[in-house]
């Protein structure tokens, strides 16, 4: 059983389009995250949710809108895609916000903008 699953694994689309990425975790964790990893492998947090409540929003353009329908799911919708959005997007989860909780990552969604 996959602990943190993301769909789709690959997303190739044109500039200006709108797309969504879905994430689900079956670990019973309270906290979920979205990270962006660029071509230089720099891993940067975008958002985090704890029990469906937005906790962190890291100066991400408002074209990116996360939604957490329940604590096991965190989706990411991106409007008006730009070339600079090309990256790998990772979803992750952890038991809580407390210090010392390991994060479990999904396999990533590779987004390519043409």
């Amino acid at each position: 059983d996959t602990a943190v699953s993301q769909t789709p694994k690959y997303l190739v689309t044109q500039m200006g389009n709108d797309k969504s990425i879905k994430c689900e975790q079956n670990l019973g964790h309270d906290t979920m995250y979205w990270y962006k990893q660029d071509s230089k492998k720099f891993l940067k947090i975008m958002f985090s949710y704890n029990n469906k409540e937005l906790i962190i929003n890291e100066t991400v353009p408002n074209r990116f809108s996360p939604k957490s329908p329940d604590k096991a799911h965190l989706n990411l919708h991106i409007n008006s895609l730009e070339l600079g959005d090309s990256a790998v997007y990772f979803c992750a989860s952890s038991q809580g916000l407390e210090t010392g909780q390991p994060q479990h990552f999904g396999d990533g969604t590779r987004l390519s903008i043409l």
Binding site: E58, T99, P102, G106
Partner: protein, 109 residues
């Protein structure tokens, strides 16, 4: 806020040792270490907590110097499976991890 990792890359032969360093400009609550293989997700290795507690499940050790705001990851008697990019993630008590730029480790037979 991003921690500084060094070295950027290291090449080892099987059986050799290596040290990866992670340094923060801010006081740390904990330091996390993850390994990412090419095309895969980062995988948790270890957490080092303020106060000295250590959590991990790999045969890889680490240290945490709270005063110097530094952590080091020790790869001992490296195996081919140790190849990958190692990231430290630092927690300054703001409910998120800030990751370093990564250290690429290549272990050759």
């Amino acid at each position: 806020q991003q921690p500084v990792q060094s070295p950027q890359a290291v090449i080892l032969r099987e059986g050799e040792d290596a040290v990866i360093n992670c340094s923060s400009s801010k006081a740390l609550y904990s330091v996390h270490w993850y390994r990412q293989k090419h095309g895969e997700a980062p995988v948790f290795l270890m957490i080092l907590l303020k106060g000295g507690e250590q959590k991990g499940h790999e045969k890889i050790s680490a240290s945490f110097n709270e005063k110097k705001q530094q952590s080091s990851l020790y790869l001992t008697a490296s195996q081919l499976s140790y190849s990958g990019t190692y990231f430290c993630g630092t927690d300054i008590g703001d409910y998120k991890l800030s990751f370093g730029a990564g250290t690429t480790v290549t272990v050759r037979a």
